[in-house]
Amino acid sequence: MAQRDDRGAAQSAETSSGPRLVLEHASKSFGSVRALEDGSIELYPGQTHALVGENGAGKSTLVKILAGVHRPDSGRLLLEGRELRLHGPADARDAGIAVIYQEPTLFPDLSVAENIFMGRQPLAAGRRIDARAMRDQVEALMQRLGVPLDPSRPARGLSIADQQIVEIAKALSFDAQVIVMDEPTAALSGAEVERLFSVARTLQDHGAAVLFISHRLDEVFALCQRVTVMRDGRQVFTGPLEGLSTDDLIRRMVGRELDALYPKQEATRGDVALSVRRLTREGVFTDVSFDLHHGEIVGLAGLVGAGRSEVARAAFGIDRRDAGEVIVEGRQLPPGSPTAAMAAGMGFVPEDRREQGLVMDLSIARNASLASLGRLRRGLFIRDADERRLAADWAARLQLRYAHLSDPVSALSGGNQQKVVLSKWLARRPTVLIVDEPTRGIDVGAKAEVHRLLSDLAGQGVAVLMISSELPEILGMADRVLVMHEGRLTAQLSRQEATEERVMFAATGHTTTEVGG
């Protein structure tokens, strides 16, 4: 341990030395979709490097290449100047590259110490696990990280922040020289972020090359020395952070005219359709109130982990709520009943299309009819023909591209899958539609179609609540923007008031009392 520290100190002393890890012109396609066009990055020992960009800019793909999860189609990876080929996550680990994900996967039944040392436990005589040595080492690691985590407690029940600490301790335990943190702060509270930062600085001071990915630009400025901005699968900027402003970064991240892409028609604003009053779920979100009118699209913005999806799920009855009311068309909804919410006229397109939106093994027709089974019933039965007619009708209206309605929905592209989810809900003719990240992971053409569809729906008087992590989408589509930060609404902005800066400001926790007039 002492040895390592010396080496680390030596390296951090000369940060002007060559880069530790270099990724050159990496590209990666999935089928016809190009996720990464030209990914390049250079990480130096003793430095923390930021990687920023909008969703879909290719950051995650780049991280997965570094983690050994994806193999790049072209480009190369150099470690200390030598070319490195990763055939799996284990290779990356052996090469000293550790990736801390937003939500780590631990062994819930095993102790913290075992999670850190699984498969590499220190051995005593007779190849027996030296439990004492293991605990001592973990304690030493925790001390180094400055985190008082009991090595013997099970991983089950650890907060996300503590789970990340376990992963970082694991990285230290095998002497990782490159540490990649993929949006680690997304689900952390303020205090937890502070702690993570002090840990990251410790790593950096010991000579590790740290790559830090975050949507929160204030964090980037607080922690990092260099930055790479990605847009549309390419590196568009890289250099020292010094002298740059938040605005500079945002401009480089966005880099396009907004209005053309997001056609929101003017619609007349009607009565209140959905009213959420003081909705609270302990430890998740607090005291959230807002109204949603017929004919308007309200954008719900905020950072990942701010509690936006959770509010939507509680309003729809998927999650329980601890306090507050949800009123649809003047009717109180009972808590915890999606069925009641649907009967009142609500529809909900969830964020995770593959796990929550669709039953991937079932056919297009079966998925499209899944929320309308009761309505399709004739007598006691449901007829395949009716089901097909419903699916075909909506497939035509949404311009779904498919071969057969009986094909499993898993055979469709992301955009077309999303159209099936939308069909499922539109078939019920909802008056209130909540869409959570409606265009995540779908191509540009389909995205425009989804936007046009949402706009048409609002034009027909449907009240739309749109959650999105893409600011341009929010700004382009929404008549009003609600912003959440750490489980609370921090701003309500009209279309005119809502600018990228203002929304970002509120999303990072700066309450904007002056805004609103």
């Binding site: 396609s29 999935f30 089928g31 979709v33 190009r34 996720a35 990464l36 066009e37 909008e54 969703n55 879909g56 800019a57 290719g58 950051k59 995650s60 793909t61 997965k64 847009r231 549309d232 699968g233 880099g255 396009r256 998927i318 999606p338 069925t339 919410a341 649907m342 909900f348 969830p350 593959r354 796990e355 929550q356 939106g357 669709l358 039953v359 991937m360 093994d361 079932l362 056919s363 079966r366 009819s369 899944l370 929320a371 089974l373 399709l376 019933r377 006691l380 039965f381 449901i382 007829r383 009986s406 499993p408 898993s410 992301g414 499922k424 992971g441 779908i442 191509d443 540009v444 995205k447």
Partner: protein, 349 residues
């Protein structure tokens, strides 16, 4: 969250080949059934006779009945191992109530209700307490069988009037069809319609394939599962009546061990143990295939043990075969274009 059976990633991928594979597997079952009939005709003059088919039908009666609701439960991604114990409990109850002087006309409905209650208890433990159905029904397997013994001890009640027991021992007049098979045919149609042509059946498939997405679509997952367990209990009660009449004997150990035979028949019928996939037709074919093989072996004086081997091998084969097909298909796909799903595709400006 009710626990799903352990599921590996490859198995999940394999499910994408669902509909096509299913078609093939059911065809295979029917072909096997025809093959058994042909072999039977060749090797034994007695096989395709009315009397023999009557006994064949009688033999598979209870298994066939219990396979119907179990199919739906497994399609919904759960399991019920307590069915044969509910059969035994209901049989014991028949004996007990008969001894207590009840008439069979009142006993039969009472027993079906008792079965439904037993099923409801399973359903309660699985849906309300969120316990894994495998463990729960291993527990109630012991519990219900135990209660059967508590009720009736080790005695047999056998003095049922002949006008009832003949339903279990003679065919429908003028035919060679056993009464239990008539009952089975009616229920099979009802269950097939329920599973394949009603909103409820649609939701059962959705629950089994992706419980979370089903819940997000407004399907009442817990209620649906509870209903399935109640159905399973009620039909097992019916099977208890059939069994008791067939042997004209109510005993606590009636039908012991049948649960695994029923599970084997359902899985052989092409129902995925992971849920979300299967047809009632396949299960019916599998039930009669197993019954036919068994009958054939007996006719040919091949001892019962060969049947065990054949049952086991068919069962393993029914799962290994499609998995290998899927593995080959995966291999072929991998040779072609990379086809993993993009998690964050690029956005062209």
């Amino acid at each position: 969250m009710a626990a799903d059976p352990p599921q590996t990633e490859p198995a999940r991928q394999e499910q994408r080949f669902g509909p096509r594979r299913l078609l093939r597997w059911e065809t295979a079952l029917v072909l096997l059934l025809v093959a058994v009939a042909l072999v039977g005709q060749q090797t034994s003059t007695g096989f395709l006779t009315g009397t023999n088919l009557f006994y064949l039908g009688l033999d598979v009666g209870e298994i066939a009945l219990m396979a119907l609701p179990l199919t739906m439960i497994i399609v919904a991604g759960e399991i019920d191992l307590s069915i044969a114990s509910i059969l035994g409990l209901c049989s014991a109850l028949i004996g007990y109530l008969w001894d207590a002087g009840w008439s069979l006309e009142t006993i039969f409905p009472a027993v079906v209700v008792a079965g439904a209650l037993a099923g409801a208890f399973n359903g309660f433990l699985v849906t309300r307490l969120g316990l894994p159905s495998l463990a729960v029904t291993i527990g109630t397997l012991a519990l219900y069988r135990g209660l059967a013994f508590v009720i009736l001890g080790d005695k047999a009640v056998a003095d049922f009037p002949a006008q009832y027991t003949r339903f279990g021992t003679t065919p429908v007049p003028g035919t060679h069809i056993p009464y239990p098979i008539v009952l089975f045919a009616v229920l099979a149609v009802l269950f097939a319609v329920l599973l394949h042509a009603t909103p409820f059946g649609r939701s059962v498939f959705a629950i089994g394939a992706n419980q979370e997405a089903a819940f997000f679509s407004g399907i009442r997952v817990k209620r649906a599962k509870l209903v399935l367990y109640v159905l399973s209990g009620a039909v097992s009660g019916l099977a208890g009546i059939v069994y008791t009449l067939r042997f004209a004997s109510a005993r606590a150990d009636n039908g012991a061990g049948l649960e695994l035979a029923v599970v084997a028949a359902v899985l052989l019928g092409g129902v995925s143990i992971f849920g979300g996939r299967g047809t009632l037709g396949g299960v019916v074919a599998a039930v009669f295939l197993l019954g036919g093989i068994r009958n054939l072996l007996i006719l040919n004086d091949v001892s019962n043990d060969t049947l065990n081997v054949v049952t086991g091998l068919l069962l393993i084969g029914s799962v290994v075969a499609p998995n290998s097909v899927a593995a080959v298909a995966r291999l072929l796909r991998r040779r072609g274009t990379a086809s993993s799903v993009p998690s964050e595709p690029a956005r062209a400006a």
